[in-house]
């Protein structure tokens, strides 16, 4: 943890209120996000117990499985969930825009994409599990399910996979989104509790965040945000209600289970919208739009794949698929880190403290300095910056700057508080620097050893050409029928 983040936590503890870790919002927030709070039956991998979902804070939709061990009821639940999620996802595919690309055909991209917000990491994992347990289902044959179930499974899988992608905002965990922007006076482990995290950021009137957070840990006062339920609730309330349902199979008994889980979900529902409100109050960082564009493109592609009748996503990545995904994720991580730093002086501050970045005032410049001769002559301006930051950069290090995003500079020399830089990229082809291209003396500038520059990775073999070192060509992928699913005992 950076000293800055540590200091912010200390301050939070001292003042009783969370401290800002960001001056802008670093995740895209949809105008119409869908909140999804799933609950799982304890002891099971993916047996849904209930969920609350919807895009309207005033009208949550409650879905309940009165006996979660009953396979038919479980799939009825997923079919019902599909009724909530699929229209939302499909509705967003309608409006598209044409994107022009240099050297390639223009293509259509959806102007918006779905955004599912769940309470925490556990819920993200549950979305993944729910997707895994439904995407291979069939609408015909033995154990047939409603046709919407496998489609929902693929969308949930798609969203869960996107959530692993740095900077993506299509499936967000509220706790993680909040922790990105605020430091609380408790540990990161405790921040995983949504109620206590929100209490630190936005304590109720007359209470300190610390006191409110402690209260929020009591499952009787603040129900857990899922997907696990409180064991006490399971014993005292849920188990008897489910037993009554089993014994009678009446609507009334089902409703009793429904009311029991509603009591557990409603506080979290309100909390989720408070969390969204808190995030929405922050101005969006410039990079969020660019990253959301990536999300929209990915959404458009996946919708097209689905429309073309492509198979469900495989259970695990093949050798080539894994390598290619890793390359994309690493690229996304690097550019996400750089964008956040360049978008936000408070994020940049963390790098300044470790000496990987600095902020200072321009003391002198040589804007029209060139290197090379004749046609190879290039503008290579020098500038000297005075900074009191503890710069730890070796000569030759490439730097970027938030003030001039297209430029790159190289460290020439560091002498005490004076850093001499040479601008080596983004100066254009002219003989003299265009006005504003080189910072003026007296200007306040920041430089950091983070670049968004992207080298396209070298190609990978086609999956059917997987070399012998990696197991050779994989067996052709046939989406397998699920193992015969036995009754839960």
């Amino acid at each position: 943890m950076s000293t800055l983040a540590a200091l912010a936590r200390l301050r939070a503890l001292q003042t009783g209120r969370a401290q800002r870790l960001a001056t802008v919002r670093h995740c895209h927030l949809s105008e119409r996000p869908m909140v999804f709070i799933p609950l799982r039956l304890a002891g099971e991998a993916a047996a849904p117990l209930a969920a609350m979902a919807g895009t309207d804070p005033r009208h949550p939709r409650l879905l309940v499985v009165p006996q979660p061990r009953d396979r038919d009821l479980r799939f009825a639940f997923t079919a019902e969930l599909a009724e909530v999620i699929l229209p939302y996802v499909e509705g967003l595919q309608k409006a598209t825009e044409t994107v022009e690309r240099r050297g390639s055909e223009p293509y259509e991209r959806c102007v918006d994409a779905p955004q599912l917000i769940v309470p925490n990491r556990g819920s993200v994992a549950f979305v993944h599990m729910l997707g895994r347990s439904t995407r291979f289902r069939r609408a015909e044959g033995p154990y047939a399910v409603h046709p919407s179930v496998p489609v929902l499974g693929r969308w949930l899988t798609f969203l869960a996979q996107r959530a692993q992608y740095p900077g993506s905002a299509m499936l967000l965990a509220a706790t993680e989104a909040l922790s990105l922007h605020w430091a609380t006076g408790q540990s990161m482990l405790e921040d995983a509790n949504l109620a206590s995290l929100v209490s630190w950021i936005d304590p109720p009137p007359g209470m300190t965040g610390a006191a409110a957070a402690r209260e929020a840990e009591d499952p009787l006062l603040w129900t857990p945000a899922g997907p696990a339920t409180d064991p006490g609730f399971d014993t005292e309330v849920l188990a008897p209600a489910i037993r009554a349902y089993e014994d009678t199979l009446t609507e009334h008994a089902a409703a009793r289970v429904g009311e029991a889980v509603r009591s557990q979900l409603e506080p979290t529902w309100r909390l989720m919208w408070r969390a969204i409100g808190l995030l929405g109050a922050l101005p969006a960082g410039p990079g969020t739009a660019a990253r959301w564009e990536g999300d929209r493109a990915s959404f458009t592609n996946f919708a097209a794949q689905l429309a073309e009748g492509g198979p469900p996503q495989p259970k695990r990545d093949g050798a080539v698929g894994a390598a290619s995904r890793l390359a994309r994720m690493e690229r996304a991580q690097a550019s996400y880190d750089a964008q956040r730093a360049y978008d936000d002086p408070l994020v940049m501050a963390g790098y300044r403290l470790t000496g990987e970045a600095f902020t200072g005032t321009v003391l002198a410049t040589e804007p029209d300095r060139t290197e090379g001769e004749g046609r190879g002559r290039k503008l290579r301006p020098l500038l000297t910056v005075r900074t009191s930051d503890p710069v730890r950069l070796a000569p030759g290090t490439r730097l970027g700057t938030p003030e001039r995003r297209g430029q790159q500079a190289e460290v020439v020399e560091i002498a005490g508080e004076h850093v001499t830089l040479k601008i080596v990229k983004g100066m254009g082809r002219g003989r003299t620097a265009t006005p504003g291209a080189v910072p003026e003396v007296g200007e306040r500038v920041s430089y950091a050893s983070l670049t968004e520059e992207f080298q396209p990775p070298p190609g990978l073999p086609a999956p059917e050409d997987t070399p012998w070192t990696h197991g050779g060509p994989p067996v052709e992928y046939v989406p397998a029928d699920e193992e015969p699913e036995e009754e839960w005992s």
Binding site: M1, Q14, G43, A46, Q186, L189, A349, P390, E486
Partner: protein
Amino acid sequence: MDRLDRLRGAVPPRPHDARAIAALAANPGCARRAVLDAAGIDKDATATHLGFPAPFGQSPFAITRGNAFESLVKESGCAELLRLLREILGLPIPLAAYTDLGDIGGNPSAHLRHSHTRKLIERAACDRGDAGTLYDHPLLRLDIAGHTSYLEPDVVAFRLGERFHIVEIKSFAIVDGQAEPEKVAAAARQAAVYVLALRNLMEELGHDPRRVSHDVVLVCPENFANRPTATLVDVRRELAVLRRQLARMTRVGAIVDALEPDLTFDLAPDADGVATRPVTELREAVRGVDARYAPDCLSTCDLCFFCRDEAAAGGSTDLLGRQVRDALGGVATVSEALGLADGSLTPAEGQEEIARLLRLADRIYAEVS
């Protein structure tokens, strides 16, 4: 060891089950926990009496699920288990004799049950035939800080030819070859306790302890069905950790010797087992041994809420987690760190550097936020 008995008071030491033993490594730097564990003190009862009951509970659904899965695996003399063992060990196991060691009638003492296990393991160790032997609920024991602990027997010991394997049945799912890493780790730590206990027994019986494999057979439901699947888990690392922790336990004597001579954590239970020790007295007693609180305790130690409260009252930076504590160099309290940051506190010797860093962080934070 009567000093440990006095620390505990007039109740028998709490037996260490495999889970408790596996948890010894969760925070070995904590003297409080080391002393309470070595003395076999009921930490849960202590925490509850202090007004900070432990936040751990198990859902009845999870318990039902666990039991149902276990009986499925063990149905018809472990027929299903045998099928899995053939698969995972790649052996043509024609048949295996199944014996439930937990089922010896009456309500015999742990000591008697262990003798029974010992006798049958001895017989199995001498039998090197191709037919397998399955011993369900073997009651093993392990010496911990001078006390003999009998281990809750919820595993199966399997012998085939020369080799013994510990089989552990867990009800968390393995989906597409992976399970939750925390749960697998917990299972591996527990299994290692049994491997060690069985190895010790083999040694006592004059056999080569290495006949007990460090590859444990973990049996879990596969994907979303109830069908079991088996995976081998290498527990060599867990065994090494366990040996280390057990060795440390015997060294707890030094900590105990340094305690106030009349210190005790006795809850003074009345005839109905209700604690009557004045809470303030117990609180002082528990505070008499230093804790090393870390937020990770919240998922591993019954006393976590008490220690957290204590850390908060003392303004300790431990409250914020190991990473924060580490980022602050040696600064132990919140007020000290903040004092150094805003310059109101002059750094003590050795604090100059962290003070400089904190002041810089403070300046930059103020500049940009």
